[in-house]
């Protein structure tokens, strides 16, 4: 348990630091790389919670596809690769206030509702169990997700093509 808490502490520190830099950096490409660090840290947390299949899906889909897609977006919109002082708008202070208020409210509610509860022991869920659940209890949402992916594919092509 001690080792798990040490790993959690390291991951949490790295993730929060990278997320903070993600929303404050003045360099778009670096922001994408900080996002990759946060996503990799989340994959580590999933491993810590014995969700191995989700961890590898996270690595493949998020770090492998979404970050690369975002980098392509940066490239295609010709954002400056170096520093750009104009990435923040003038509601920075209000945004920080809203985020802090939200954090305070959520933190108070979470501490009130789950204070002192431990995760305890949990079984390691193999990919087979996840698959059984998806193709058993969650078959209809799974099919809906495939329809959603198809329509997103068609929609993205229809939006982005030059006609």
């Amino acid at each position: 348990m001690v080792a798990q808490n040490i790993v959690f502490g390291i991951l949490a520190f790295v993730m929060v630091a990278a997320a903070f830099r993600l929303v404050t950096t003045q360099n778009v490409v670096r922001a994408a790389l900080f996002l990759a660090i946060v996503l990799a840290g989340a994959a580590g947390l999933y491993i810590l919670l014995a969700a191995e299949f989700v961890a590898w899906v996270q690595v493949l889909v998020y770090i492998g596809a979404v970050v690369v897609l975002l980098l392509f977006g940066v490239m295609l919109t010709r954002a400056p690769i170096g520093r750009d002082a104009d990435l923040d708008n003038d509601q920075r202070l209000l945004g920080a206030l809203v985020a802090l208020f939200l954090l305070g409210a959520m933190g108070a509610v979470l501490l009130d509702a789950f204070g002192g509860q431990k995760v305890g022991t949990f079984a390691i869920r193999r990919s087979g169990e996840v698959g059984d659940s998806i193709f058993g209890d969650f078959l209809v949402p799974f099919e809906l997700a495939s329809i959603l992916l198809l329509s997103a594919l068609v929609g993205a092509v229809a939006l982005a093509r030059r006609d």
Binding site: Y62, F114, L148, A156
Partner: protein, 99 residues
């Protein structure tokens, strides 16, 4: 491991994402902040799945990952279309629908 350590970490990440959505002007950076928020939700789902010792949290987080992938694809297509029409992706300038 306490349940709250995961939930509070996810809350911090979610609030940083909210700040990013509110304070950023570049549309691609706003999309990145949205990914940060979705990821925070995923951490919550996995933590509750381990807390309840069932597999449903993992299944839900897989659905969230699927929908996030679809969202970022369509979102980037829209951003590219805006860039092609206006040669700029500054969200403050996008007030076409303002009354």
């Amino acid at each position: 491991m306490y349940l709250n350590q995961f939930l509070l970490l996810a809350a911090v990440l979610f609030c940083l994402g909210v700040y990013g959505v509110l304070a950023r002007r570049n549309a691609v950076l706003v999309l990145m902040s949205i990914e940060l928020m979705l990821n925070a939700v995923n951490i919550n789902l996995i933590a509750f799945g381990a807390f309840r010792d069932n597999v449903i949290g993992q299944v839900f987080s897989l659905f969230v990952i699927t929908i996030a992938a679809a969202e970022v694809g369509v979102g980037l297509a829209i951003v590219l279309l805006i860039f092609r029409n206006r040669a700029d992706i500054d969200l403050d300038e996008l007030d076409l629908m303002k009354g």
